[in-house]
Every structure is written in C-alpha cells, then in structure tokens.
Amino acid sequence: MSQSYRFLPFRFERVADRVLLVNDVGDFHFLPESSFDALIGRKISPESSEYLDLKSKNMIWDSHLSNVIDLLATKYRTKKQFLYDFTSLHMFVLTRRCNQRCAYCHASSVCVEDKDVLDMDVATARKCVELVFMSPAKSIKIEFQGGEPLLNFNVLKSVVEYSLELNEKYKKNLEFVVCTNLIALDEDKLEYIKSNKIYISTSLDGPEYIHDEFRKNRSGEGSYKNVTANLALAQSSLGHDNISALMTVTDLSIDHLDEVIDEYIARGLGSIFLRMLNPLGYASAEWNRLGYSVDDFVDAYAKALDKIIQINRSGVYFPEMFTTLLLSRILTPFSTGFVDLQSPAGVGIGGVIYDTNGDVYVSDEARMLAHSKGDKSFCVGNAHSHSWREIFGSERLREIISSSCIEALPGCAWCVFQSYCGADPVRNYAVYGDMVGKRPENDFCRKHKAIFRVIFEYLAKDDEDIEDIFWSWIIGKPLAENSANATQM
C-alpha cells in the first residue's frame, strides 16, 4: 500500500555500499539500497524506525509542513551564518620579495632587492587598514603574507599598530597571523610577535630530504635546518599552540606522508594540513616535474588519514585540519566559513587580499592571475583610489559572487556533497575562461568528491572510537579534556 508521506528536498548517491541522503541543511542518512527503493516507492511504513529516522532528519514529512519549513529555515540560516559576518579575513602582501626560492611558489616571489617596487609602503598599508575596519564583521583576522613578510617588518609593525589604534574605536575581535618561512626570524622580531600576540603560520614539508628538495634559499641550499631551528625557538617563546605549519604535498612526499606526519609530531606541531599542490605560480610552469594526479593525491590523503587516525587512537591528539573542516560541515549544525571552500564563494565576501600597491583582489589566486598573465579581472579596486563601498559593493564583486553559488551550478546542483562543498570562481576562470567551470571532471571537484567519499566511508562504519576522534578534532581538544560536564565521583 502506498503511504502518505511526502519528500523534502534531498540529494543522494551510492556511498560505502549504501545510499547516502543529504538535505540542504546538511542532515545526512545512510539507507540500504532496498530501503531506498521502498522510500522512493512510498512503501516505508510509518511505524518503522526507518520512517521515523527519515522524518527526524527532515528527508520526509507527513504533517505540520509549515513548522517543518520554519525549522529548516532556521537551520539553513545557521549554516549560512558566514554570510552575515561578511569579510573577516584580510590578507596583506607586505612584500613580493622572498629569501627562499621554492620550486612551486604560488606567489612567484622574486629576489630582486628593489624594495621600492616590491614592498608595500606605510601610506598604502594605512589605507588598507582603514578599509579593513570598514568591514561589518565582528571578528577580523589580518594575515601577513608575501613573499616573505618578515622582510618588510617595519610595515608589518605599522599595520599592527594602526589596527590596534583603530580598534579602540571599532572593538572587533582582532587577530593577527603572519605566514612566514621563519628564516628571517630574530630575537627582536620574535619579541614583537609575542607581545602583540601574533599567530605564526609556517611551512614545513616534512623531514629534511623532502623539505629541502623544493624549499631552497636563493643560493640553492635547503632551508630545513634553519627553519626547524627557528621553529623550536618560536615554539619555546610563544608556546606550541600559537604556531602551526602548512605542508604542500609534492611529487616527492606523496609516497612518504607517513614520514611527514612523524616529522610534524616530532617537531611538536599539534596538527597537520595536507595540502594538494595547485598548478599556479611557478608550480604551473614546472607541473611536469612537480605535479601529480588528483587520484594520486587522494590515495595518499586516504592513507595518511588512516595513519593519523591510528595515531589518535593510540592517545595522541593530532588532527588533520582539512578533514576537521569538512567534518564540522558534515556533523555540526554550525556555519563554518572557509574562504577557499564555501557557497557563495568566500572571494571578497569572506576574505580579501591587499597587494603591495594597494590593489584589492578577491583572492590570492586572483592576484596571481594579474601578476602572471596580466589579467586583472578579479581586482575589485585600489585602497588609494576607491572607497569601501565602491570595492565591496561593486557590480563586479556581485557578479563574481552570484556566479559562485553551487546550489545553482551545473554538476553541483545535484551533487550529494553540495551542502558541504564550495566554489572557486577564480580557478574556474583561470582554467576554463569562465567562472562556472565544468564538473565533475575538473580537479577541484574530483579532489573534493573523493575526499568526501573517504570521510563518509569512515562515518558509515559507525565506529565509536572514530567518532570520538573526529569529534575531538571538531571541538578542538582531546575528549578527556572535554569533561567540564562530567564530574568525578
């Protein structure tokens, strides 16, 4: 007999030998194939627990539709909260110079000692800071990038000081991050970083032989010794929690991620972010030497994640940060803004980058497009000549954003992972010449789809230990410390 329930919108796909259902607010449910057939054929009995599960997770309804819709609307608003926050990440390119010459540098840094042309000056920095504080976001993160930002430390200081001064009035939750290779770190700089609570994000590709293969100084020597020595110095001064490192998976490390992980743990780094190399900047020219396929990356990622989970099982708290981000999207009802993967895209409205001359780009990739190809399509203004309103309210930015809602993009619109994924209109433009791009064959999509699968395979296991580990990553501390509510008897 046909049952009288109706469907609410959900997307589905076969994952882990079952059918995965996901709705717009990210509720998900696994069904065996036969139950899925019964669901679609309206044959699930209202008394069955499957029926109640599907109802509880807002996949079907049988009464009180307007209440159900109100509930979903509230959950949807919560999920998209990052839109209310508006631009909170503000990246400053303090200089285009660098003291390293990494084979895959995305920023195509140069070594010329021509500071006048390649550094941001104080006047520009101040203009940019003024723009930053026009943002309605309650939390502001100012991230110093380069090149190597420590090479223009005076301007870094002037940004910090002017920001603190303006913040007396604006009262934002203000954070600073410096993305540095640490080579130019010295006592004075460290002292300044410490007293202004600046967070350090550095790069360490793995053990010496891996790191030094691609990260070399200008005279061609590997930087590992220098970087790790300064890392230890910074850790002892700032505390381990105030420094994290990023790694880029290279053709050399892709088969040795276990060694990279061991290196991170040995260096007292509390987490890792396994980042795929993107065909940008120098890496694009040398793709044949450095690059690898998405499939290779995802295989390596899956193996590494397995190892990381084993490590956590043994009692060492050590999250993989990209997995953690996706898990927060999948398992929590909250909004998780991440400028590189959200819908609408975070370009301009989540994060923005100020180039040395005050040009405002919607992302680092947008800036690279201008430098490498002379294409300023994603430059939305200049801090010297445009007001906040002209930049962030511009037609161009609106156009970019409205091209990046995956809810309406071909391929994404019916993808089961849509509620957790995002778009990169700049990358699409760079690869396809338009902001929409093509799915599922582009690398961005293939990579994310495959990683989502890996994660859902774990979730399908229903393994309490794995759940404990995943949740400890999301919450940001080991489960044993999450005991404010469990009193000892």
Binding site: S49, H64, K75, T332, A484, M489
Partner: protein, 377 residues
C-alpha cells in the same frame, strides 16, 4: 512538600511564617528556638507567633498565635517558610537546607503527560499571590528557586508577578522555570519574560521524542511537539538559557540515541541536556504498565546517547538513576537529583559503599524499581 500536624491556638485563619530563630525539632527545649514570625503583606504588620513542641514550656496569657506540634515526624529550621492552617496542620513551603525549592503559579496544564508526576488540577485561587508572599519571606542567599506547576505559562500574569517578586526580594537567585514552552511559541511572551528576568531565569523544557508523533503521544496533545520546538527557538532568540529534558520510558527509550543527535543538530544552543529516570507517582503510577522500563534494559541506549552528547561538547546529566543500574562509564554524569524529602533506599542497598554518591529512589519506587539493584561492597 513536607507536612506536619499540630493544634492551633489563638488563631482561626491560615498563617504564612518564617522561622527566624533556632530549630524546631521534637525534642528541642530552649524556648527561644520556637519563635516564628509571620508576615502579612496586606496589613504591613509583622506579628510574631510561636511554634511549640510537646516538651516546650506552656505560655500562660499569651495572645499571639501558637501552634503546638504533635507527633515526631517534623524538623523545621531557621529560615524555613511554613504555612499553618488551623484545621489541616502545617506545611513547609520553603526548606532552607534543601536544594530543590519551588513555588507554584498554577496547577492547570495544557498537556496531559502520560508520566506527569503532579497531575493538573483546576485552581481554587490565584497561586501567584501566595507564591509571591512566600518569595518575600525567603532569605536572599538562595541560589535557585523553581517555578513549577501545572504549566506556569498558563497563568501568564501570575508568572510575571512571581518572577518580579523573585527579582525584587531575591535579586541574586536564579529562577528555574519548569515549562513545556508551548505558549512561548509567542515571541512577544518569550521576550517579556526575558526582559523581566534580566538574565536570571533558565527554562527546563521537556521534549520526549525526536519526531512529533512520539512526543505528542506522550504529552497527549497533537501539535504540542511543534509548539515546544517554536518555544525553544524563541527562548534561544531572547537569550534565556535552556535545559532540555527527557524522561526515559517504554515508548521512547529505543530512539534515545536518535533523540540525542536530533537535540544536538536542532537545538545546539541548549546549555544542558538532562536524561531522567521515571518517577512512579501521579499519572506515571497510574500508567505504570504502559511507561515502565527497567533502567537496566535501556543501559545501552542511555550510554550511547550520553556519550554522543558528551563528545559533541554538550553538558549532559543523568537524573533519577541509581548508580548500580548504570554502566560505570556513565557514573560521572549521574547527579543526585531526587529531592531530599523524596529519596529513600531499600534493603538491597544495605552496606552499599556508593550510597553517598547514589541518587537513591523516589519514595514512590516501592512497587517499581530496577531488578538489578545490588549493593557495592
């Protein structure tokens, strides 16, 4: 509430009073320990009356109200608020040393929960005035004052009256409002309550299931689930803290884990989640065959649910459970929650070394308690 018996002398009407000195127990002899004061806000006069026990000296020519206690079964202490009725005896309205004091706003309710411990009744008078009077007598160092019912929001003006009395006389006390939150689907009401309480009120709201049919069946009203959901969202919007509760019973224990996940995904803002054992009195006692389930039989579901909420960073507590019915991993979450005057232990408990940590039983558990009670030695 605890009651005691006695003989009224020199008064023929009900008195509310507060014990202002000493303690009154069956064998106390110091005369000054027997004084209570009663306060009549209408006349603004304060009169002193006496509470006497059988061994107290006799007061000749005394025209103050005097109440001579009978029997052995009472202890009243300084700070307690009591009601004396000439024909019906005394009631302790507020017990200073108890951690669970509450006042009533109405006995009426808009639900008919299958497990209701205090079945709704019509009100004979406005309980809010009476409760406000009690509040005016309570020592202001009280930490938590409960407002309960019935469903307090049904007497809306009365509820506001009691909340303002609490704000006025007990400015540092937090108010614990037990409500099904259905009427709070009206945002204006939720806001009015929040403004009056100024951050000093938290709501304890029962939600018995993760789907409407299950919850509605238990509370006996179709549509109640969605009203409570709306009420919960309004409470979050106006910034009132929420403790979400469920009572574990036959019809809902198998979905407890689903309920926990639903609560986290739908109401991540709740400050506290409480999973409660059944109190076999009132309607729960009448419906016992339909609702009773031995805690030992749902230990697995309870463990999974508590762990699931805990790993999600939610504050979670187990109320009304005996330690020996719980897996050891749940002990840190078990609270001694049964009100002092209700809790008892049985002979199975003799010599149990966990007794001081254990919630024990409701008085009413004589007939229905877990088969797996056994003392820890």
């Amino acid at each position: 509430m605890r009651t005691f018996t006695g003989v009224a002398v020199n008064f023929s009407y009900s008195l509310i009073g507060k014990i202002i000195s000493g303690a009154v127990s069956p064998h106390a002899t110091e005369p000054d320990s027997h004084i209570f004061i009663f306060n009549d806000p209408q006349s603004r006069s304060q009169r002193t009356g006496l509470l006497l026990n059988s061994s107290s000296p006799v007061f000749e020519n005394c025209d103050s109200p005097v109440f001579k206690l009978l029997g052995e079964n009472y202890v009243v202490e300084k700070g307690d608020v009591i009601l004396l009725t000439p024909n019906e005896g005394g009631t302790v309205l507020y017990e200073k040393k108890s951690r669970s004091n509450a006042v009533l706003v109405t006995n009426r309710c808009n639900s008919h929960c299958i497990t209701c411990p205090q079945p709704p009744q019509p009100d004979q008078e406005d309980l809010a005035d009476f409760s406000s009077k009690i509040i005016s007598l309570i020592d202001p160092d009280l930490e938590v004052l409960g407002i309960t019912g019935g469903e307090p929001t049904l007497n809306w003006e009365g509820l506001l009256k009691v909340v303002s009395a609490s704000r006025k006389f007990l400015p540092n006390t937090s108010i614990q409002l037990l409500t099904n939150a259905r009427l709070l689907k009206d945002f204006v009401k939720a806001k009015e309550l929040a403004e009056l309480a100024e951050g000093n009120l938290f709501a304890c709201v029962p939600l018995y299931g993760d789907v409407d049919s299950l919850h509605d069946e238990i509370v006996g009203v179709r549509g109640a689930f969605w009203e409570t959901v709306e009420g919960l969202y309004n409470l979050a919007r106006v910034g009132i803290c929420v403790e979400l509760r469920t009572v574990i019973m036959q019809s809902n224990y198998s979905r407890l884990e689903k309920w926990a996940e639903f609560v986290y995904r739908t109401f991540p803002f709740v400050d506290h989640v409480a999973l409660m054992g059944l109190e076999p009195i009132g309607l729960a006692a009448e419906n016992i065959d339909k609702v009773w389930i031995d805690p030992a039989d749902y230990a697995k579901q309870l463990e999974k649910s508590v762990k699931s909420l805990h790993r999600r960073g939610m504050n979670v507590s187990i109320y009304n459970h005996q330690i020996c019915t719980l897996p050891k991993s749940l002990w840190p979450f078990a609270r001694k929650s049964i009100s002092e005057w209700k809790n008892i232990y049985f002979q199975e408990c003799e010599g149990c070394k966990m007794q001081s940590a254990c919630g024990g039983f409701f008085h009413s558990a004589q007939a229905h308690r877990s088969q797996s009670i056994s003392a820890f030695s």
